[in-house]
Symmetry: C2
Subunit: 398 residues, 2 copies
């Protein structure tokens, strides 16, 4: 008989057993890399900006030449030239000199500040400066944004559009990312059908739900489809999937003996490590390894399967991809009392009202529609003696 | 001279001028539809579940037959049969009868509750029931989850993995989604280069950043690339892009006359509606229409361009796709004072500390690296007389 673990123990055990499963790296063009996971720290190969630049339209100056300048007594500087955008400022500014420059223009040697054009007047070769500037004012130094050798993105970062911009600024147009883990999804249950159901049958939801959730986490998916609760069929499905995939998810069956059958099959082909997590929904969750591949047995009810995916399988996927564990997306206060939960950690879909307060979405077992209206979920710890209206709760994103 | 608008006015004006630009619909397989936008309300074609089901393993009963049953005086019912998973329960339960059933099994006619197997004993054809159940207990009625005719997903919903599950439950494997709007991205500036920059030149960041951000919002992108600040070149780029794309984004140029040039070009080819939004960063933002296509002029600095994309262009894209406007992702308290902001609405990247408090990420103009570390941004309204440490601020996601 296998123990029932609590969720943290289950996640730790899975991480420990699967720690060796690090996906290989491959190169990805940053144009196509959003959502992919960086497989090594990215260190800046250069300074950004690569040269000292102004941040205003005006004149590059030696700040000391402007000290004491004001509306009544402007500083007078000789205009030695104009720095054109995109051109090398290949001269040196001497004391008493300034150079016309546009925002983003390259500062000439010697210059250490810029004066905004609004604070100047020019007359032929002379520039009158009505406001003093401090050294460093209105300029960005080479490397101010990103210095050469700086770690800009860490291993395990899921690349966002914003990251793409940072990489482009460094001239990095290709990055090393983890190959997408391949997840095989098997749906089991004598009542589950792929097409239109007859009376007593139901549609296969989990193949779609768990495949989409896996893809959203950056995995490729093998949809094995629905199989009946016959031991041989499930065993063949698992055998086939561990050959082709990096991990296998079996959901169902909901009939009485089916869950023990899945444990038996895993033990026949490999080893089952636990059967049961003290969480609601999600208690009849199974984990084992077959031929070095993790096999997850999820409940048949789609909502329960979803929570186990989100809280157990997703943490496994993140772990092998070096993605930090999930964190709450925010917090809010409860709009109603929640009764005690009898020793199991409980997860409850919620929506937010107009005041961003938490409205729990109570559902019967087997309900799926709540996933179309939920804006997140809350976690009620084990052995909570009920929660009062007004309690501040952390909110997790779906 | 065109007016400077505030952000709300700018967004309203853009929505008004582009309201006719509704993308056509196309069919998408739900396996490939995550991130796509639903183009019409989805109404349930059937009940989910499609039949009355149990939510426990045990016996289907007529609740009234169990009234008064307890540990000392169990109810005695005749077992008329077993309902197999996935099979039609094609008989009618009469008073005094019950039928063996597994979780998810179809309730026979007449039955209105189920008793958990733990509360029963069976002996041949007889079942002893030690706990009474109320009508409706331990069962789900047809349509309890989703009723036929119910709107399950609204037009403008961005399809998530969870929605995929709900659609699968309804047997909907194909949905009508909006065709992806095509956004053309042009980067301008004499200093901008596509390859490796010489001294004084900088890499083209905005093409990558704005393309990736557009794709993340469900658009297709035409990367026009970098063009110099020559009027003819920009004009040709705009002419070309309005032919091929649904909307055009020009970022830059940062040199003094370039912004006016963009306005001139839009007015030559079409009509510019505003030049300037009272926001920081993002003041020199331009909007016009050329041949019925919106043209957005964004600042050249990547961080400023990003904020204008996020707050102006993204709202336009959401608007034509019927996606509700962006909302704050949460809130937190400020860890430091913020000085007054001189009449412009200001946006500031932030990170959250260990206590989920807001740490503003102050940056000089022209800085991009903050986008790799920011966890969101805050909005400081116009004419704020400074904000004190401890103020509760709404947090927006990047």
């Amino acid at each position: 008989m296998l123990n029932v673990l609590n969720r943290e123990e289950a996640v730790s055990l899975i991480k420990e057993k699967t720690a060796f499963l690090i996906p290989a790296a491959e190169k990805a063009d940053i144009r196509e890399a959003c959502g992919r996971v960086i497989s090594e720290n990215i260190v800046s190969p250069e300074n950004v900006p690569s040269f000292d630049r102004t941040t205003v339209d005006g004149y590059a100056v030696i700040a000391a030449d402007t000290f004491g300048a004001g509306d009544s007594i402007p500083a007078q500087l000789e205009i030695t030239g104009e720095i054109l955008m995109g051109k090398n400022a290949c001269f040196t500014l001497k004391r008493g000199q300034c150079a016309k420059i546009s925002t983003g223009g390259m500062l000439p040697h010697g210059a250490d500040a810029a004066v905004m054009v609004e604070h100047t007047d020019s007359d032929g070769g002379l520039c009158l400066i009505y406001k003093s500037v401090a050294p460093g004012e209105n300029i960005t130094r080479a490397g101010d944004d990103i210095a050469v050798g700086e770690t800009v993105l860490k291993k395990g970062t899921v690349i966002s559009p914003e990251h793409t911009g940072v990489l482009a600024a460094l001239g990095i147009t290709e990055v090393n990312v983890y190959k997408k883990p391949v997840i095989a999804v098997i749906s089991t249950g004598d009542e589950i059908v792929a097409g239109n159901p007859e009376p007593g049958q139901i549609r296969d939801v989990n193949t779609f739900l768990l495949s989409a959730a896996s893809k959203a986490l950056g995995c490729d998916v093998i949809e094995y489809g629905a199989v009946s609760d016959k031991k041989e069929e499930i065993e063949n499905a698992v055998k086939d999937c561990v050959e082709k995939a990096d991990a296998v998810i079996i959901s169902g069956g909901s009939s009485a003996g089916a869950r023990d059958m899945t444990v038996d099959i895993i033990n026949t082909l490999g080893e089952a490590y636990f059967h049961g997590i003290a969480m609601k929904p999600g208690k009849p969750t199974i984990f084992g390894m077959v031929k070095g591949k993790p096999v997850f047995g999820l409940p048949g009810h789609p909502l329960a399967a979803y929570f186990v995916f989100r809280l157990i399988v997703a943490e496994f996927i993140k772990s092998i991809l070096s993605i930090p564990p999930g964190k709450p997306a925010g917090s809010g206060i409860l709009t109603e009392n929640i009764p005690s939960n009898h020793g199991r950690e409980e997860f409850l879909c919620i929506r937010l009202n107009d005041k961003n307060e938490i409205v729990p979405l109570h559902t019967k077992s087997g309900i799926i529609s709540v996933l179309s209206s939920a804006q997140g979920f809350i976690r009620i710890p084990r052995n909570t003696e009920g929660l009062n209206k007004g309690t501040v709760m952390e909110i997790y994103g779906l």
